[in-house]
């Protein structure tokens, strides 16, 4: 009997160790990935790499047009998707009654969040590039990316709004405020940190996406920075993909250098999101 208990605990310890190792594997992989990219790419990063346009000569190739394309995309996607996403979240959390339509909208949004990004690319190609004749412009890219991240923005904004206690709203109504006044002056300000965190993460998803932009045809040689919405463009992930798919080995190192720049962008945004979350979580205790 005693032996039985010992062996049960022995098995339990073994299992615990196995689970711990599984968890550590994820950390090791992340470390390996970052180390590999850094190792391959860091010696190629210099001022010229940031300020040069792409080139077929490795030593002259730079990421300038891709960085500008990504910045354009970030701004446009933010302008398009924030108001629409937050609006939809406000409708679902504050206005919508539990009707059939509301239910359909909610199920539909979580399904859209699971649609592969390349399908959004197909949508963008057929709708924005062909039907609306926006061509392979930065506007087509931004619209496609906005549709792609809208479900994520809606879901995270809904969560942030849901966390605001009903008593805040009731207090505002009791003082005679209308529904919109309550939302604008009380619900949104309190929910803003949560909304911002989710939205920044969604935007960082958008700037890392490659497939939809390839679909709408952004994979071309671009040696200028876009100055209007109708200009063709490139973006960092596409430029990286372009470099990876070239046969010469030097371009693979340049791709790694491009990845470092892209990851710095993404990590900065993630850090900003985490900072906002931590800063406001301290004060908000309902």
């Amino acid at each position: 009997m005693k032996k039985n208990i010992t062996s049960r605990h022995y098995k339990g310890d073994l299992f615990k160790i196995l689970c711990g190792i599984s968890t550590i594997i994820a950390l090791i992989v992340l470390a390996l990935l970052l180390w590999d990219v850094w190792n391959d790419g860091h010696s190629w990063i210099n001022l010229g790499f940031i300020t040069n346009f792409p080139s077929r000569f490795p030593e002259r190739a730079g990421i300038k047009s891709a960085i500008w394309g990504t910045i354009w995309l970030m701004i446009l996607v933010t302008l398009i998707s924030f108001p629409l996403g937050i609006g939809a979240a406000i409708h679902l959390q504050e206005y919508a009654r539990k009707t059939r339509l509301t239910n359909i909208i909610e199920i539909n949004i979580s399904n859209l969040a699971g649609v592969p990004s390349i399908v959004y690319g197909i949508l963008g190609l057929a709708l924005f590039v062909r039907t609306l004749q926006l061509d392979r412009s930065i506007l087509s890219g931004a619209l496609t990316m906005s549709l792609l991240i809208l479900p994520i923005i809606i879901i995270s904004s809904q969560e942030a709004i849901r966390a605001i206690p009903t008593s805040i709203r009731e207090a505002s109504y009791a003082l005679g405020a209308t529904k919109w006044q309550t939302i604008r002056n009380h619900v949104l300000p309190y929910a803003l940190p949560g909304i911002l965190t989710g939205n920044i993460l969604a935007i960082s998803r958008a700037i890392g996406e490659t497939a939809p932009l390839i679909m709408i045809g952004a994979l071309t040689f671009i040696a200028f920075t876009p100055i209007s919405l109708n200009d063709p463009f490139t973006a960092m992930p596409i430029q990286i993909f372009n470099w990876i798919s070239r046969p010469q080995e030097e371009f693979h190192f340049i791709a790694a250098a491009g990845i470092i720049v892209l990851l710095v962008f993404l990590l900065t945004m993630n850090a900003a999101a985490i900072l906002i979350r931590n800063k406001y979580q301290k004060y908000q205790k309902w």
């Binding site: 339990g12 992340l30 539909n108 859209l112 390349i118 399908v119 529904k179």
Partner: protein, 303 residues
């Protein structure tokens, strides 16, 4: 006079409230419009495609060669490519993800969790093109060292990175499901003399099973739709094979391949990406709906 102005402003406010409410409704309806847009566009071009290629040949044909004459559009090689990578990714991600979730939810201290969860979030936030690079430059050489006959583009390498990519999702969704299991169930099992392992495998995992399965399905559907890593690492060779060391082509990689070339609008190649896209969309949609139904079931039990 004052009263008129006041009632005017009241009326103005009332109209404004209604307009704002409708504007928000429109924002929400946009999501329905997006779904309709996707389905409509996929259907229109797919119907055009099936006027030239028979549906039966598309579904059971074993040769996919859209660019070489004689053209042949049998989707099975692409499905084979997609599935071999999905299965490989599942083999990597599901056990590791489940074990990590068990560790985070049942064993680790809050401090350890505070460190590991953000790292998983970072892993989930790394762009897929970066995973593609990692597969081609880091994992493929290792595989070629171990198996000298492995192709430079191979399904194994792509499977491993896709597995790593979906691992954080499995871990975090499974952990959520396990934390949803009421503490009283665990305490009951301990009171009956169970060891932590038995509490875990006989109480927590079974109690959270629908949530765990839902996360598995969602992760597999993500793996099916994954594009850049498989395009970079698995190659562009549509073929029916079970050998993970060979180069294959997935549905997503085919769509990328066509859009990289300059395929004119209205040709059969152009339409074929919509037919493949439709197949991909249908597969992932069915899995997502299945996952949602499972999660719904799990919500009903503990709330």
């Amino acid at each position: 006079m004052g009263t008129t102005a006041k009632s005017f402003s009241h009326k103005y406010n009332w109209i404004k409230e209604i307009i704002i409410e409708k504007l928000f409704l429109l924002c929400a309806l946009l999501s329905i419009l997006t779904t309709f847009g996707i389905i409509l566009i996929l259907l229109t071009e797919t119907i055009g495609f099936f006027q030239e290629v028979s549906l039966i040949k598309f579904l059971i044909g074993t040769r996919w060669s859209p660019l070489l004459v004689p053209k042949s559009f049998g989707i099975l090689p692409l499905i084979n490519g997609t599935l071999i990578i999905t299965v490989g990714a599942a083999v990597v991600a599901l056990p590791l993800g489940l074990a990590s979730a068990i560790y985070l939810s049942e064993y680790s201290s809050p401090n350890v969790r505070k460190i590991i969860k953000p790292i998983l979030e970072i892993l989930a936030g790394i762009p897929t093109v970066v995973y593609g690079y990692f597969a081609l430059m880091f994992i493929t050489p290792i595989i070629q060292d171990l198996f000298p006959n492995a192709n430079i583009f191979n399904a194994a390498s792509a499977s491993i990175v896709v597995g790593i990519m979906i691992l954080p999702m499995v871990a975090s969704l499974c952990e959520d499901a396990m934390r949803g299991v009421p503490q009283s169930l665990r305490e009951g099992a301990y009171a009956l003399g169970s060891t932590p392992l038995e509490v875990c495998t006989k109480v927590v995992v079974p109690a959270s099973l629908s949530g765990v399965l839902a996360s598995f399905i969602l992760a597999i559907s993500r793996a099916i739709g994954e594009t850049m890593a498989v395009t970079i690492a698995a190659g562009m060779t549509p073929k029916i094979t079970l050998n993970p060391l060979e180069s294959v082509q997935t549905m997503t990689a085919y769509i990328v391949q066509v859009s990289l070339g300059d395929t004119p609008h209205g040709t059969i190649e152009y339409q074929s990406i919509f037919a493949v896209g439709m197949t991909l969309f249908t597969m992932t949609l069915l899995m997502n709906i299945g996952s949602q139904m499972l999660r719904q079931k799990y919500r009903e039990v503990y709330q």
